[in-house]
Amino acid sequence: MVWSPPLRRFFSHPWVLGVLGILTVFVAWWLVTSSGMVDKLFLPGPRAVWLAGSDQFQQGILVADAVASVRRVFLGFMISAGLALPIGIAMGTNRKICHFLEPLMALIRYMPAPAFIPLLIIYFGLEELPKVMLIFIGTFFFNTLMIMDAVKFVPSELVETALTLGGRGLPILTRVVAPFIAPQVLDTYRINMASAWNLVIVAELVAANEGLGKRISLAQRFLRTDEIFFGLIVIGLIGLIIDLGFRFLMRRACSWAN
């Protein structure tokens, strides 16, 4: 196939191909459902999903669910990120602290967070606390160990230069280590935010009054596959927006690292 240069330039833009990929699946979905080959109960069409969504929106359920889920994620993740930063830095800079904590964290990290749900419900009941705790447990150890690794990779020349320029103690941490690891820390948060987002849905599937995960499990009970599809799409979109937000933050705050 011979492509004209402008066309080639158009298709070499990463966004164009990305949007094209999504459109392909969407069109295939639309074709399959509108052909009548598949039972509508199994695979609802785009229109049915859209209607289910706008129905939820008009009832105010959609916004309430999204707010509930996002709030849990942010609360749990903020505690996790806030604690992981000092502890990760401490582990990365102090060998004794690292030897003390690393085996413990490596062990807990491999315990699947959803397996803690029964315990959390026994300890904290069915309110917000167990869900927030689940997100904390599921992300804290990954956050900490990844930040520790980032600190270990700070080139010794950068620290030693600061020492020979008369720096000592805290300023080394705030003016050398912190700026150097900032891009990796933001990237760590971005990656682990995805699992926080996974876990909130899992927690809501088990026990919740509202939330995007709760809505899906309710829809299952009434065989409302259109609502399940809508829920999945919303969950994906919110996750994507959070991811893009982190990328934007990183480009703005750490332009030197790009």
Binding site: T164, L165, G167
Partner: protein, 255 residues
């Protein structure tokens, strides 16, 4: 300024794994002097520098700067590493200002000194550029300006041009020679390149490896008014060949 290194030995590890890297190193450095330590890899020359900088402690012997025992790093001993030592998130000017602001100097003073030292190394136009936008030679000049800005008593240069291309290396050697002449700084240069040592240093110590020790010292008396000419002059080449022969015999005895 008087730097005195007295009978310094350094070993790493303990027990059976103990490895002696430096044995009985002694020399003195006074104001305005340019000294070089030359040796192949494994001769411990970088360790000498790290000991003087206070980044490591000698196992035996002492290092005194103006009568005071060196126990930790300080801004009276400025250091330039081989590479990767500029802060990549700071501009050239901010890198030069870094030590000054660590010392808590006033804003006006920092600005003034920063632009002065950027000018000294010929990079006034590059003040706002990030390290990644600078060539390797420019980066090292920023590192030198940064080390000079805090007015160290002695400048420690650890293979400062080791990572640069040959051509840039030569122009950087000329730059450093000019800088030494104009500012009257005191410098200790670590290098594996005999030519570099002879071009720049008034005193050259040759180091032998395993364990690192000084085996030969030369006072270099050459006309340094034109480095380009000096590089190819007969006395320079003879001296270079003599010292290269010594280094070769040191390496040869190990094989």
């Amino acid at each position: 300024m008087h730097l005195q290194v007295s009978q310094v030995s350094k070993s790493f590890g303990d027990g059976r794994d103990c490895k002696l890297v430096l044995q009985d190193i002694s020399f003195e450095l006074v104001s305005g002097q340019f000294m070089a330590l030359v040796g192949s890899s494994g001769s411990g020359k970088s360790t000498v520098m790290r000991l003087i900088a206070g980044l490591e402690q000698p196992s035996e012997g002492t290092i005194h700067l103006d009568g005071e025992l060196v126990q930790r790093p300080g801004s009276d001993r400025g250091m330039v590493f081989q590479k990767y030592s500029l802060y990549p998130w700071l501009t050239a000017a901010q890198n030069v200002a870094f030590g000054l602001s660590l010392q808590g100097r006033g804003k006006a003073e920092i600005r003034e000194r920063t632009s002065y030292f950027l000018d000294v190394v010929g990079l006034a136009d590059a003040a706002r550029l990030l390290p990644r936008e600078l060539s390797g030679g420019m980066q090292q000049r920023v590192a030198i300006a940064r080390a000079l800005a805090t007015e160290p008593k002695v400048l420690l240069l650890d293979e400062p041009f080791g990572a640069l291309d040959l051509q840039i290396r030569e122009s950087m050697q000329e730059f450093l020679q000019d800088l030494w002449k104009t500012t009257g700084l005191t410098a200790l240069l670590i290098t594996h390149d005999i030519e570099e040592a002879l071009l720049l240093a008034g005193t050259v110590h040759i180091m032998a490896p395993r364990p690192g020790r000084i085996v030969h010292s030369v006072d270099v008396r050459l006309d340094r008014s034109d480095l380009r000419h000096l590089r190819v002059s007969q006395p320079f080449l003879e001296l270079r060949e003599e010292l290269a022969g010594r280094l070769r015999s040191l390496d040869g005895s190990l094989l």
